[in-house]
Subunit: 345 residues, 3 copies
């Protein structure tokens, strides 16, 4: 974590100009306005932080034109309309990557039928089963298991201990974090005389390009047909995606959300954490769902949806929650009051 | 995935008859009515799909007698009262299994005291600790860790990267998916002067026969006494089962549900996803719990239970949810109205 | 699991006295009052179990002075004010530890730059990357991956298949259960023309001393700055901790709870299972949150908080829940009734 760049390079990367007196400043990292030091670049992500511009010790601040004049005289100014986006781009300069060398670690167990690009790096203790195809520049971290006939597209990165079941397809530039399991059986059983008969899951998991999947997230294979995660989808940690779910391009889902089988989620949705989505639903493009919501019906209109309950002190909650069980009765009593009032008139 | 059967074999397996003119049809798979082709068998799982029977291109359709006459003339008819069950049974014909050979992969690390049946297959990078017993035809997938003195019954299948802590017992024909952890410590601490004193978890995890456990599900070992999952229980992905929980025969639990310590769940219950069940409860046989419910008291009567909240647009939700905090007050005000009304009369 | 102690040793460990006629009793384990046998010690954890004291077959019972006279004549009495704490301490006598020997298993892959204490035990199939430092008496179980430049403090225990990403710091006497992932990327993206630009996560994960982390729990690395779990924190299974979260000393969190990014949780909080805590909040010291609560605002006062909904039969629930969507309207109608009533007077 000891890379450094001159400020001119930084400005160049995000496509903005920097005054000549500042362009040789040596930059070693990024930091928030309050804590940034003379070798760090900062940015203003929200106007409520404007007050810090006068006092920040940052080497440079990325700011929209409106707040540029608030920056103190010792700090360089990089004018950019979306400082948060600029920050996102700059993080790529400073990211640490565990060194990896092309080739197969001697401890890895690779089936002889697997096709692995010469530029790919297969880590220690990895298992690659028969018929697997691994593309250019792919990194397969330590302890991963790549199941039979799976494919991983160019430039994808599997962190340690990722598991792909057989016939899983992962696109290009995917990032799969540790503990991810793609292609385990969907949850399907038919009852027969008090026993469950297993429904073998005959479909696969297809993951598009530029997909990122967080630690310990699971995506089940399809029952008939496939589970499909389209290009650019971002899944956080510990998400559960049921069999035959489809998730449209660019949708992002936060941690611990569960999507039951055969539900289709549209493009460019944003779904918060701990949301539960029932099976066999359709959620259209551009839907936003707030945290801990329960979705039991299809959502056919874009918009923002919620169903959470507010936190209260236990005493207050206990008094209110008990009324919840009488809500229907309460509504009836109000009806009665209204009726009797009317008949009195 | 290129097995094929003639239709007579298919009919035989589910125990129904097929007209002689159709019995030689070559079947390579299963598919829904709308997408099935001339080499696939389909089935009608719900009467709402009856309309597709006239137009399906399937080689054959499994249907109850009532809808048999709706099937088009080019499609063979297999009459069976429960087509979904027939479908479940047929999936077993077409399931892919990664080839495994009996014996121990050279990269596996096996304690010399372990007893492993000759017909068992121990995969690459596996670790088997001291005193382990593994039965006939068991498959232990790549990267599994089987802790000391654990046992796995005949015909069980551990997918890649399953972990059994020490002294875990798994029955026959169990299926454990990747990332499953059986026997980690239950969450037990006693407070002492602002510190937590760990309660060592001295019990074990006992898993019955014909149990399936989904990816990244965790079952904790008992504190005193054992955590017990009885025969035929089916657990989906990312379920958390606390210490000393007992789950009765044939119960099925969907993804991301959490069961806290010392709760007993009866037989043949069906519990949906993202349900939270508090500790030290008793749930009787035959209970059904809908998704995202919170269970904080014992359930002593069979039946269907729920506690979820419906999704709304954010605007509508915000207006309603704010009233939730005034629900007790609202009930009181209705009481007052009723009282004053009565005293007016 | 065949250790034994004489009762005098047991009494000594918890610091209480035992009558001389009982002190030679051989003790092989601990058990609840109802099931304990003549070689087991039991304890009374709650006065509701007082009835069992007369009939227990236990070799000895730990009891506060008040209930000591209820114990039958064949059972030894150990008087201790907090029997549950005594029980917690005694569990340490009987805990099983898989035998481990100092040194590095031949199948482990260790970077030559790693510094591993001679007393540490590195298990089979482990991967230790460059620059790692592992302290005295540390046990790294089978299949763990310790990422580059991570450190693990003295006397810590990693069960099988724990993953530390690069630059993760774990303190002394930590216990990390199987499937734990520390240091995966936080969930951060900036939108640009309908695409997500990844925000590389430049911070780390810092875990204090005496921390226990349950199976399949994930703690993300910080975006800028670090995610910090302070000394003595206890995390149960399948918890998700977002980037830049801070959790104060001695706080305990139960299974499946999710804490979104940049939230700070104080010291000595107790948070139950399946709780969702939104991002960028502050929760002060000493807060208790009941199960399945949703926390969307900061909590600045210690106390007990809740937001769960009670379970009902489906019929009753359906009637009540439908009214939830009309709650604001209902409140308005009650307002109207009150107003009209007033204007009538």
């Amino acid at each position: 974590m000891s890379k450094s760049y001159c400020l001119a390079e930084i400005a160049d990367l995000i496509g903005c100009e920097v005054d000549s007196r500042w362009q040789d400043r040596r930059i070693t990292g990024l930091a928030p306005l309050e804590t940034a030091n003379m070798e760090q670049v900062s940015f203003i992500s929200h106007s409520k932080y404007k007050k810090y511009l006068a006092t920040t010790k940052a080497a440079a601040v990325i700011t929209p034109a409106e707040t540029a004049r608030c920056v103190n005289a010792d700090t360089a100014v990089l004018i950019y309309p979306d400082p948060y986006l600029a920050y996102a781009k700059l993080t790529h300069l400073f990211a640490y990557r565990t060194p990896s060398i092309a080739g197969i670690h001697p401890s890895a167990v690779i089936d002889k039928s697997a096709k692995i690009a010469h530029s790919a790096s297969i880590g220690a203790q990895v298992v690659v089963e028969e018929g697997v195809v691994i593309g250019e520049n792919v990194i397969v971290g330590p302890g991963c298991v790549i199941g039979a006939h799976s494919t991983i597209g160019d430039d994808s990165y599997c962190y340690a201990r990722v598991t792909l079941y057989h016939h899983t397809q992962v696109g290009k530039r995917a990032i799969l974090h540790s503990g991810v399991v793609l292609g385990a059986d969907g949850f399907g059983f038919a009852p027969e005389k008090g026993q469950w008969v297993k429904i073998e899951q005959l479909g696969c998991v297809l993951i598009g390009d530029d997909v990122e999947i967080g630690a310990n997230t699971t995506v089940d294979r399809g029952a008939l047909g496939d589970t499909i995660i389209h290009n650019g989808v971002k899944l956080d940690n510990q998400i559960q995606i049921g069999h035959n779910v489809k998730i449209g391009q660019g949708t992002a889902i936060a941690g611990c959300t569960a999507v039951a089988g055969s539900t289709t989620i549209g493009r460019h949705c944003r779904i918060a954490g701990l949301v539960g989505i029932a099976g066999h639903l359709e959620i259209t493009d551009g839907v936003v769902i707030l945290g801990m919501s329960g979705v039991s019906k299809s959502i056919l209109e874009p918009g923002i949806y919620a169903s959470g309950i507010p936190l209260e002190s236990r005493e207050s909650w206990a008094r209110n929650v008990i009324q919840f069980k009488h809500l229907n009765e309460l509504a009836k009593r109000v009806n009665q009051l209204e009726k009797r009032e009317q008949s009195d008139e």
